[in-house]
């Protein structure tokens, strides 16, 4: 019997100690780990094979993580996590949202990185960067986390965007509460159903014309939630 294929993770960091520590931890979590200590080295490895996900350090001499992420996305739409010594408030990281699925601010717990890798890979198969409901009345750009309705435009939180993405991958079908909790939050978040209730309530305020009588984000009592397309859904690549 063949053993299941381990998803490949390409770690790119100029700090060899950190690379070694992370390799061991990610490998223990069941991934096939490849490493590179520079942007050009990582691009060279991509010529041979594509990993399931890349973890890229932002600050590297020569080609920095920003440039590497940009070039990777030109080659293929591979999910990217950026390791950064700066945090989300920095303008450069905001710009990185165009290329990276997630970022982790140093110093971090390697377990946290593993949790994020798992979460992104779980979502990767469902992902389409745009959601369109009701023939374009409602548009969601998941890359910039922007939701546009006839009433106006709203910024979604990362959690709200993940929730919409998971629901949109099964449009017009019910997604059970447990599955939503599992796919939208990490184990480290310690989420319970109340997280989902409050997040749905807040999302409806942005999505629905009348949040008390939702048209798109429907509760299936005792089971979970369903995203209706309004009329049709058109996922666009």
């Amino acid at each position: 019997m063949l053993s299941p294929v381990r998803p490949a993770v390409l770690l790119v960091d100029d700090d060899r100690t950190l690379l070694s520590v992370l390799s061991r931890r990610v490998s223990r979590a069941g991934y096939d780990v490849q490493t590179a200590t520079s942007g050009p080295a990582a691009l060279k490895q991509l010529e041979a094979s594509w990993p399931a996900i890349l973890v890229i350090d932002l600050m590297m001499p020569g080609m920095d993580g920003f440039e590497l992420a940009r070039r990777v996305k030109q080659l293929a739409d591979l999910p990217i996590i950026v390791l950064s010594a700066v945090d989300a408030s920095e303008a450069k990281v905001s710009a990185l949202e165009l290329y990276a699925e997630d970022y982790v601010t140093k110093p971090f717990d390697p377990d946290e990185l593993v949790a994020r890798i798992q979460r992104i890979l779980r979502r990767a198969s469902v992902g389409s960067p745009q959601i369109s409901l009701s023939d374009g009345d409602v548009e969601v750009d998941l890359a910039s986390r922007r939701l546009t309705t006839p009433a106006g435009s709203h910024q979604l939180t990362p959690t709200e965007a993940r929730l919409l993405q998971v629901l949109a991958s099964s449009v017009d079908r019910v997604v059970p509460t447990d599955e939503l909790l599992d796919r939208v939050w990490t184990d480290a978040d310690g989420a319970d159903p109340s997280y989902l209730w409050v997040t749905v309530r807040r999302l409806r305020r942005k999505l629905e014309a009348d949040p008390d009588h939702p048209r798109y984000l429907i509760t299936e009592r005792g089971i979970g939630y369903r995203l209706t397309s309004g009329s049709t859904i058109t996922p666009r690549a």
Binding site: V21, A91, D109
Partner: protein
């Protein structure tokens, strides 16, 4: 003479001319009827006519003179209106008016140029602008400015300056300029004459340590009138004011630039150091965790690894606080908005502190979830709990109380420590501020914790408040946006 007077006189003249012959005629007729009844009527008529003629002749002679004067004066007036006044006087008037016009133009130009001379530019440009202004006011392109001594030679070196439209470098001061300056030392403006010829010189009054003159060749030109000297003096005063302002501005700007540079260096240093610490800290923490998980590691080493992990964690927290402080300084701190439960976060943070203290967490009211940045709130909680432990006696209890308050959760961290007096409470959230009691009790504190905590709460749309009493302890209350967590469906 007034015109009405003239006509009155003409009327009176006519009356006098006509009335006496009529009276003579009437008188003659009456006399003929009464006394001169026997006299020949022709004779009476002749006498009347002759008398009238004589009367008319007398009147004619007398009035011809008076009316002639009037007519002559009228003609003179007409001539004046037509041809102006006397040619000589007219010329004098014209010269005076032209001179006044020129003076008015100069004063207006001076006012205009004085407004145009920039004060916020480099002093070199200001001197050039002053020269251009003087040239424009005096309509004379030979004016220059010699800066003989400068209190700030780096921003305004001594030398000869030309106008703004001339792309000429500053030339070195020569004997001519030194002589002109010495010759004109006693007066604000005037004409001097010597081995180099005649010059008009204006003293530019700036300060005791700075000396400058404006000067132009004046050979073959009339000595400036007192009015011109006054104008030149005014020019010198304006030039001095412009230069003084410009130097002051340049000094203030240079000081501000230096302060900004130092602040930027400090901020860069802080960020650089913290960034450089972040990667090794990740490795240290991760390596220690891995080793602890290794069953072959002996127990004694495991205890040391525990300490390494704990200290690395403390260091990570402190680096985090410094990063927050530097972001607050740069005004780039933002926070995520996630939904999360606060009590588990409090418990995790307290556990991470590993403080050997009695601890009580009380949650009251309807269950709520905070809508904030969990990592940021954890940073604030850690800073407050760490402070509570540091500034209260060993063995004393620390308590956290969570309760909804409107659309917020109020999270209060309470200790029974040293507390704060009013002055300390007011400055508690200032960066690097530490009270004397705080320094005595915890000598190695950074003074960044509460500053960062307060900034983080504000970035999350919340707030941080203190209720404290000296010697009785402190209660810090964080308020964060929250929502009821009950399922409303």
């Amino acid at each position: 003479m007034p015109r009405t007077g003239l006509w009155l006189r003409v009327f009176v003249a006519l009356l006098l001319a006509v009335l006496p012959p009529l009276l003579l005629l009437v008188g003659a007729l009456l006399l003929t009827e009464t006394i001169l009844r026997d006299t020949e009527p022709d004779l009476v008529a002749i006498v009347v006519v002759a008398g009238s003629i004589v009367w008319a002749a007398v009147l004619g002679i007398v009035y011809a003179r008076g009316l002639g004067d009037d007519v002559r004066s009228l003609l003179t007036l007409a001539e004046r209106g037509d041809a102006g006044t006397d040619p000589e006087i007219g010329d004098a008037y014209r010269q005076m008016a032209s001179s006044l016009d020129e003076r008015n133009r100069q004063v207006a130009a001076l006012a205009r140029e004085a407004n145009l001379v920039p004060i916020d530019d480099a002093p070199r440009q200001v001197v050039a602008a002053v020269v251009s202004a003087v040239r424009s006011v005096m309509r004379d392109e030979t004016w220059r400015c010699a800066v003989l001594a400068s209190e700030s030679e780096d921003i305004l070196p001594p030398g000869i300056y030309h106008g703004t439209d001339e792309s000429r470098d500053v030339e070195p001061i020569g004997e001519l300029e030194r002589w002109a300056a010495v010759s004109a030392a006693d007066v604000p403006a005037g004409r001097v004459e010597g081995p180099w010829g005649a010059f008009a010189v204006i003293d530019v009054a700036v300060s005791d340590r700075m000396r400058a003159i404006l000067y132009a060749p004046w050979e073959g030109r009339v000595k400036p009138t007192p009015a011109e000297v006054d104008l030149l003096t005014l020019v010198g005063q304006h030039a001095g004011t412009a230069l003084e302002h410009s130097l002051l501005y340049a000094r203030v700007r240079s000081q501000a630039d230096e302060l900004n540079r130092l602040a930027a260096v400090q901020a860069d240093f802080l960020r650089g150091v913290t960034h450089d610490l972040q990667t090794p800290l990740t490795s240290i923490g991760a390596l220690a965790t891995e080793l602890r998980a290794d069953e072959s590691v002996p127990d004694r080493a495991r205890a040391d690894l525990e300490s390494i992990t704990h200290q690395a964690e403390r260091l990570r927290r402190m680096v985090g606080q410094l990063l927050v402080a530097s972001r607050l300084e740069a005004g780039v701190l933002t926070a995520q908005q996630e939904v999360f439960a606060v009590p588990p976060l409090v418990e995790r943070t307290w556990a991470a502190l590993r403080a050997d203290r009695p601890f009580e967490l009380v949650v009251e009211g309807a269950p709520h979830l905070a809508v904030a940045d969990p990592d940021r709130l954890e940073q604030v909680l850690w800073a407050l709990l760490d402070n509570a432990v540091k500034y209260s006696p060993d063995g004393s209890a620390i308590g956290v109380h969570i309760e909804p308050d409107g659309e917020e959760l109020a999270i209060t961290v309470r200790d029974s420590g040293i507390g704060m007096d009013e002055a300390t409470r007011e400055r508690a959230f200032e960066q690097f501020y530490r009270s004397r009691d705080a320094r005595r009790m915890v000598p190695d504190g950074s003074g960044v914790g509460l500053y960062a905590a307060s900034g983080l709460m504000a970035a999350m749309g919340g707030s941080l408040g203190i209720d404290t009493e000296l010697g009785r302890g402190s209660a810090f209350t964080m308020r964060v946006p929250a929502e009821p967590s009950a399922n409303g469906e």
